[in-house]
């Protein structure tokens, strides 16, 4: 946009981890009153750049200038006090505290040192309202699904930056993949807020793998590849194809391929049949049928119960009513083991708390499910194990391609791939994917979608949940529509089914 002084300038940033050079000499500038996208594949170094900026990681080289002054933050607290407000990639809030507290902690309204709970709740409710959220701010954060938590994190960073006397208000707002679990509505709401802040002069750093979102809201972008700077461009000067080529260093045209495929509708016999499956306080009893080789997509708004449905099918939560038959045999759903034994796999949306074991290596995380199914007495022979792991690291392009790397140190997208590999390796009959593309870059996303298609062609059934309706629509043979934690419709995919048709179904909530 304009050519005034940048509010933030990072030059020659270097960050090394043992064995990995995550950033090598990256330059980055951010101007007041702009929304600036930081782009790059999984593992390109986006989150690392942000963490170096806010003092989570120490700097190995380079300088940071904020408002013309050279700075170096020792902790996120210092960064925050200097006016940099951040939402990190994984939801980083305290699940045991209430929503209101999560928003305000560290700068609660006080009088004479005494926290004013009433006022805090009221203000929190107002802030949450601004994002169009309707939740009870006094309830503990853990009682809400991931998407709501993500919104709360956003509210925390945008809404309260200007309190706490210490700082001069938020100058820089950093959002690292804030939209990965959000619905269209929430995203729009967020964008409205971002624009408003931008107009107030706040500089916003935005990371997302959704290119549409970038083009919708950003003014300028910086592209990283493998920890190096590729370039800085005005969004209007660079089209999507150009951007992708910059990001991955080569051209890309797989998207069309997918479209050709999806009309196939020859699915096999019934694999899974759920009758009256439900859980009080969770999801209303529903009937569901998934055929062999079928991709069943679930559509619904945030909190409509897609995850809950998937968890019930997997036995992650215990149903109060109903029964499930898989391949003609009734399966008791008392624990995930039963479902796994019957050939069901469940890739959770919440990879941090329900997916990975951060201290273990990539290899160990990948073979975990298979090993658990075999029991502890029958370890997978080393050669077979290494072969399998190597195969999936290659197939999913997990980076670094080192099976001995600790999973907790991988970039978000690569962690997601490890999780996928874990379940693919078990060769399930029904694969439940709850937002498998969350935080995954555009290239890998198409890869995963292609994978789903080929798996279903090979006869695997897939239950597919994604925040993006288009994604669901593109892949599914059938679409289950949820509303208010009730399965309201089941649509067979075809040319007449469009996103707006699905949204209509959700809105009317009518049965087919």
């Amino acid at each position: 946009m304009a050519e005034p002084q940048p509010v933030l300038e990072m030059t020659g940033i270097v960050k090394e981890f043992p064995g990995v050079r995550a950033l090598s000499g990256v330059d980055f500038r951010l101007f007041p009153g702009e929304i600036h996208a930081l782009m790059g594949e999984n593992g390109a170094g986006k989150s690392t750049l942000i963490k170096v900026l806010t003092g989570v990681y120490s700097l190995d080289g380079g300088t940071i200038t904020l408002d013309g002054e050279s700075v170096r933050f020792g902790s996120p607290l210092q960064a925050q006090q200097a006016g940099i407000s951040t939402v990190y990639q994984e939801v980083n809030l305290c699940p045991n505290l209430s929503v209101a507290e999560n928003i305000f902690i560290g700068r609660e309204p006080t009088r004479a040192g005494r926290i004013q709970w009433k006022r805090m709740r009221k203000e929190a409710a107002e802030l949450v309202d601004r994002l169009g959220l309707d939740i009870d701010v006094a309830a503990p954060l853990s009682s809400y699904p991931l998407a709501v938590q993500q919104l709360v994190a956003i509210v925390r960073s945008v809404g309260t930056g200007d309190r706490d006397g210490a700082g001069s208000g938020t100058k820089v707002l950093v959002l690292d993949e804030p939209t990965s679990s959000l619905d269209r509505d929430e995203v729009l709401e967020l964008f409205r807020l971002m624009r408003q802040l931008r107009d107030e002069g706040v500089a916003i750093l935005f990371v997302s793998h959704f290119l549409d979102q970038i083009y919708e809201v950003c003014d300028r972008m910086t592209v990283l590849r493998n920890g190096t700077l590729v370039g800085e461009h005005l969004v209007r000067d660079l089209d999507q194809v150009g951007l992708i080529e910059l990001m991955i260093g080569k051209a890309l045209d797989q998207l069309e391929e997918l479209h050709e495929h999806q009309m196939r509708s020859d699915v096999g016999e019934t694999l899974v049949r759920a009758e009256g499956l439900g859980r009080t306080g969770g999801i209303t009893p529903f009937d569901l049928q998934i055929n062999k080789g079928e991709v069943l997509g679930l559509a619904g708004l945030l909190g409509s119960g897609r995850t809950e449905l998937a968890r019930l099918l997997f036995g992650a939560d215990q149903p109060d009513s109903g029964k499930v038959t898989i391949g003609g045999k009734q399966v008791s759903m008392s624990a995930p083991n039963d479902a796994i034994a019957a050939g069901v796999a469940f890739c959770s949306e919440n990879r941090k708390s329900e997916g990975l074991v951060p201290d273990l290596t990539v290899r160990e995380n990948i073979i975990l499910a298979l090993q658990a199914a075999r029991g502890w007495t029958r370890p997978i022979p080393a050669s077979q194990r290494d072969e399998l792991v190597a195969k999936y690291i290659k197939a999913l392009d997990i980076r670094p391609a080192d099976p001995e790397a600790r999973v907790g140190r991988l970039s978000g997208g690569n962690q997601q791939k490890v999780l996928l590999a874990r379940w693919l390796i078990t060769q399930p009959k029904l694969l439940i994917l709850d937002e498998p593309t969350r935080g995954i870059d555009i290239g890998a996303k198409t890869e995963i979608q292609k994978l789903v298609v080929s798996l279903s062609e090979d006869g695997m059934s897939v239950l597919y949940i994604a925040a993006e309706l288009e994604e669901v629509l593109r892949l599914s043979h059938t679409i289950g529509v949820l509303r208010d934690r009730r399965l309201v419709a089941r649509l067979t995919n075809g040319p007449e089914i469009t996103t707006s048709k699905i949204l209509e179904t959700i809105a009317s909530g009518e049965h087919q």
Binding site: F17, N337, S353, V357, D359
Partner: protein, 364 residues
Amino acid sequence: MTTTSRWRALTHHHLFWPVAVLIALLLVNVPFTPDFFSINMTDGHLYGSLVSIVLFGSPLILVAVGMTLVIATGGIDLSVGAVVAITGALTCSYISDQTDQNTLSAVFLAMGVGLVAAVVCGLWNGFLVARMGIQPIIATLIIMVAGRGVAQLITDGQIITVNSEPYKLIGGGYWLTLPFSIFVVAAVVAVTVALTRRTALGLLVESVGGNAEASRLVGIRSTRIKIMVYMFCALCAGIAGLMISSNTSAADGNNAGLWIELDAILAVVIGGTSLLGGRFSIGGTVVGALVIQTLTTTIYTIGVPTQTNLVFKAAVVIVVCLLQSPKFRAKVFGAKGPKGPRRDAAPVEPAPAPDAAPKMEVSR
């Protein structure tokens, strides 16, 4: 170039600091006991300080090895001391009831009885922790308190003395000129390593300790694994109990294994296993236990006045822990270290702690 990189690799090995401390402690003894490292033949067996360190340290090693697995699942077992006492009491009271205490079958039966009791204690702990979801410290506190009472009930509050040559062998006897307990320890350690690294048990234990909820969702039967681990820990404590009572040929319900749980936990941590659960190292634990036993012996030999024993112990524990802390090393030696800048990366990074994991365990 290669020597420095080899040195770096060495200092980065997880056993480097525990072993270094162990060696340092052993060396401290030399000025006070000039023939500290000498080992000679006495009465057909080896005799010397090193031998007695291993001999007296055996029970601690055993208990600590069992404790390692419990800690790896994110738990803790305070009841091991009481289990030591119960096993010793039961076994000795059974043996002392025999007319001929030297019959092998009776001794084996007695040991069997003792070990079964130990395993039952472990089962109970495991049940409380894994099935009932009670926090491990409290669940095991119950047997820690009541167990010692049970041991005294068995011995009637007296010290039961046995005169059984075969029984004496386990904890106080010699075989092939070496203390027999060395063989027992070696066997238990070998079995543990085999059990955890040759099978998938180690992986599953680390997974349960690293992230309990994720483990549940991949279909690991964590209840079963936890119960097993507590039983194994109690079994180790039971064997240690046999050893302790056999060593003095007497069962002392009140004092046997008193506070051994703290030393065992200390050994586990010195060995590099985190109390939060997850990764564990049996080798580290063995070294850790040896460090503690050497420390005890050192206190006895260098003539520390009794009232300063504990201060001395505290000082050593602090030094050991500081040396093991990468952050401390970075601060103190960092500037002079061979390659300074590479170092500080790791510490500043907030350990991707398995934060969700332990919480799940207790709230479930």
